[in-house]
């Protein structure tokens, strides 16, 4: 063996599971596995080269402050090993050391990280720092799936340089996020702590703040919604030998009296079929998923949070079952062999019939959407079938496969008809019907899509009919809908806030900071407070327009239209402007913040209305003598003497629900590392016999909802 004279090539991958796939796709049976500490390493010979494949664990370098201390404003940043920046990333030290050692023995370098800005940045930073400037000698593998065929083609067609545009765009985005995030968050916390208040983690950011502002605006509109009444006139009518449900033509009636009059004069009235309309509605097949649509569909169907869907899809990609999920594309380019994918799917008992039907039809191109992504196609199955798959992974995989199959389907066709019934009073009622003529693509997308049907009896113009009964149904104008995680991500996408990879993460940060809450998002008092302060003192920071413009400029770096330094310097100027304003209003900001935090703490200790005096609120307070916490009514001065003991350990939060047995509030007690425990605060609650006998926890669940 002349191994000493072979060219030694180091391939850097983004994750361990991707490294394993890439190594075995390129090296086949000749792959030798070993470990450098805890880092897996794969070696094999290929085309006269000694190839080593080594994974990273995502980002190994991060933007960090230059020098020590906690100062503000701070614009000097460096890229440092992530274990020096984040305490929880301490494990990454071993990976940097392993890659650095392997790089010392390598002659050439290849980036095989995910083909997007994050993946390009991960590889660039590793090559620049851990491999001591090897970025200038590195090549780039470009692939969208981890299948053997795609990976071999990507290795054969490597570009001669790194994709510097994407890496620079990623770097600029991280630097701008750091500059805005660190400075504004530090300024908020510093101005708050100068008011003499205790520490509270507060944050704001370039994308986070405009999103929070939009959520707060929607929340305020919901909380200030005053429903106005209106009436809908409905009827049950006999026509063509059948019974139909009908509605008064012309929509809503704005007066109760008028509604009741119409209902009264039409009930039992004779009518005649005055008009019949029929039309065919063609419903085209859906296009394959981009990440946003997949997240939204998984949320609608399975109730998955977008970040959960993204994680599951990334896992499916690493198992080579689907293509790269962080894509904005709804297109499947001709270079992707759809026939081969369909043949692969036909190997499964579950998808065989559908895949074979499409293959037999000769439709080999799916319907495509308008959105495209220069790096990746729409999310699609690779044709590989899972040997075993978890429950949630199975759900997302099935959704991706069926959506892909549906995109090859024919349009669905429904016949829609309306029958108009005219009473002698001149009132006209309309009955709507729908019947499916062709179920088309919906066959492939079951149970995720179905066509609603409502059949009408056969009738002709001039036929007699009878309004059996009519009624005026009171309705109210509805508030704007609450954002869900999924609709919030769609909102961010529409407004160019964040990227496809970061949107779910931004929402997670808002949840973690306590600014928003719930599946249907509600903004907390803290969220409202921070938004109010940002809007009042730093309107630029909550401006969607400003963030979108900056985002477009970052994208311009990737396409070569902008220079990274120019965009970052522009961002620094903006951040400086925000900081200068903040310094001028330091005390004012601090005072406002302390009011907000005071209110938040008040909210956290208020359990709900007192069921005894009915005018006070039950709140958590502490005894001055013993320091122990207990529940008391704040109507104490007016004679309400309700007090109740509380568990002295664990974090207590109001649950916003009341006990079904006694009507007192329910609290949630969270002990460290334990499951939360729901408890009725009333120690005399009928469900707590054992509690009263002094047995502590017993009876707690009985009183809980």
């Amino acid at each position: 063996m002349r191994r000493g004279s072979l060219e030694r090539q180091l391939i850097i991958c983004e994750k361990p599971s991707a490294a394993e796939k890439i190594a075995f796709a390129l090296g086949g049976a000749g792959v030798r596995r070993s470990r450098r500490g805890k880092v897996p390493v794969y070696r094999f010979e290929l085309e006269g080269k000694e190839v080593t494949v080594v994974p990273s664990i995502g980002h190994l370098y991060a933007a960090a402050q230059q020098g020590p201390g906690w100062s503000f404003p701070m614009f000097s940043l460096v890229w440092a090993p992530i274990h020096e920046v984040e305490r929880r990333a301490s494990g990454s030290r071993a990976w940097i050391r392993a890659i650095s050692d392997l790089a010392a023995q390598a002659d050439s370098f290849v980036s095989a990280c995910d083909l997007d800005t994050e993946g390009s940045l991960i590889a660039y930073m590793i090559l620049l720092h851990a491999c001591r400037g090897a970025d200038s000698r590195a090549r780039r593998m470009r692939f969208s799936t981890l299948t053997r065929q795609d990976l071999q083609a990507a290795y054969a067609g490597m570009t001669s340089t790194l994709d510097y545009g994407a890496a620079e765009a990623g770097k600029a985005r991280h630097e701008l996020d750091w500059i805005f995030g660190v400075n504004v968050s530090r300024a908020l916390m510093d101005s708050y702590s100068r008011t003499g208040s205790s520490f509270e983690v507060l944050s704001a950011g370039r994308v986070q703040s405009p999103v929070l502002y939009a959520l707060a605006k929607r929340e305020a509109a919901i909380r200030l919604h005053l429903p106005d009444p209106f009436w809908l006139i409905g009827a049950e009518a006999e026509v063509g030998g059948g019974i139909v449900q009908a509605r008064l033509r012309g929509g809503k009636v704005l007066s109760k009296r008028e509604g009741e009059e119409i209902a009264s004069r039409c009930s039992g009235a004779k009518a005649v079929v005055s008009r019949i309309t029929e039309r065919e509605v063609v419903i085209p097949p859906p296009f394959p998923f981009d990440l946003g649509t997949l997240q939204s569909e998984a949320s609608r169907i399975f109730g998955f949070h977008p970040s959960r869907t993204q994680k599951i899809a990334e896992k499916l990609y690493l198992e080579a079952l689907i293509s790269y999920p962080r894509t904005a594309s709804q297109k499947i380019p001709p270079s992707i062999n759809c026939v081969q994918i369909l043949r692969g799917l036909a190997g499964s008992d579950y998808y065989r019939e559908m895949a074979e039907e499409i293959l037999a039809s000769g439709r080999t191109r799916p319907r495509e959407g308008k959105k495209s992504d220069p790096a990746h196609p729409a999310i699609h199955p690779t044709g590989a079938l899972p040997r075993s798959i978890g429950r949630d992974e199975g759900k997302v995989y099935d959704l991706v496969v069926k959506r892909f199959l549906a995109a090859f389907g024919e349009a669905a066709v429904q016949a829609q008809a309306t029958i108009e019934l005219e009473c002698s009073s001149g009132d006209v009622f309309v009955a709507d019907g729908k019947a499916t003529k062709e179920d088309g693509w919906t066959r492939f997308y079951k149970p995720y899509a179905f066509l609603k049907e409502a059949l009408l009896p056969k009738a002709s113009v001039g036929d007699g009919a009878k309004i059996l009964t009519a009624w005026a149904e009171g309705r109210f104008t509805a508030p704007p809908p609450r954002f869900t995680a999924s609709s919030a991500i769609r909102f961010m996408e529409r407004n160019g806030l964040g990227t496809k990879s970061t949107r779910a993460e931004v929402l997670d940060t808002l949840y973690r900071r306590g600014y928003i809450d719930g599946w249907k998002i509600s903004v907390t008092e803290l969220g409202f407070g921070v938004t109010r302060i940002l809007k009042k003192f730093f309107p630029d920071l909550v401006s969607i327009e400003l963030t979108r413009r900056l985002e477009e400029e970052i994208e311009g770096i990737g396409s070569g239209e902008r220079r990274a330094t120019e965009v970052v310097l522009k961002g620094i100027d903006l951040a400086k402007g925000v900081c200068e304003k903040m310094i001028d209003k330091y005390e004012e900001v601090g005072d406002e913040l302390s009011k907000v935090v005071r209110k938040l703490r008040e909210e956290r200790r208020t359990l709900g209305p007192c069921p005894e005096c009915k005018s006070g609120m039950l709140i958590i307070t502490h005894s001055r003598k013993s320091g122990k916490r207990f529940v008391g009514c704040n109507n104490y001065k007016n004679g309400c003497r309700v007090t109740m003991p509380l568990p002295q350990r664990g974090r207590i939060t109001p649950s916003k629900s009341t006990c079904k047995v006694c009507g007192y509030p329910i609290i949630e007690v969270r002990g460290f590392g334990k499951r939360p425990w729901r408890l009725c605060v009333n120690n005399r609650c009928g469900s707590k016999g054992s509690w009263q006998r002094g047995s502590g926890k017993a009876g707690s669940e009985d009183g809980a909802e």
């Binding site: 909380r223 209106f230 007066s255 001065k637």
Partner: protein
């Protein structure tokens, strides 16, 4: 357990609805809600034929009413404030 501290009561210059600091009798958000309640009364009277108290009761019990609207309607009911009497913050 003995009681040694008053858990709190509305402070001076506090919103009569939520207790948060305010320049007038209501904080900004509840004042806005109060103005909206007054503004919509004409619509309700015309459409549903209800008078002020009944209007406030229905609004405060309506599931579609926003939280600040409900709180303010309940307060207006409790305080017996008549239409047109709502003070500005």
């Amino acid at each position: 357990m003995g009681r040694s501290r008053d858990p709190g009561s509305p402070a001076m210059g506090a919103c009569a609805v939520c207790g948060s600091p305010s320049g007038g009798s209501l904080c900004a958000r509840h004042a806005k809600a109060a103005r909206k309640i007054e503004a919509h009364f004409a619509t309700w009277r015309e459409r549903a034929g209800v008078e002020w108290e009944e209007y406030l009761r229905r609004v405060s019990e309506n599931d579609l009413s926003g939280a600040w609207i409900k709180e303010t309607a309940e307060y207006l009911l409790r305080s017996g404030m008549r239409f047109g009497q709502i003070s500005k913050p």
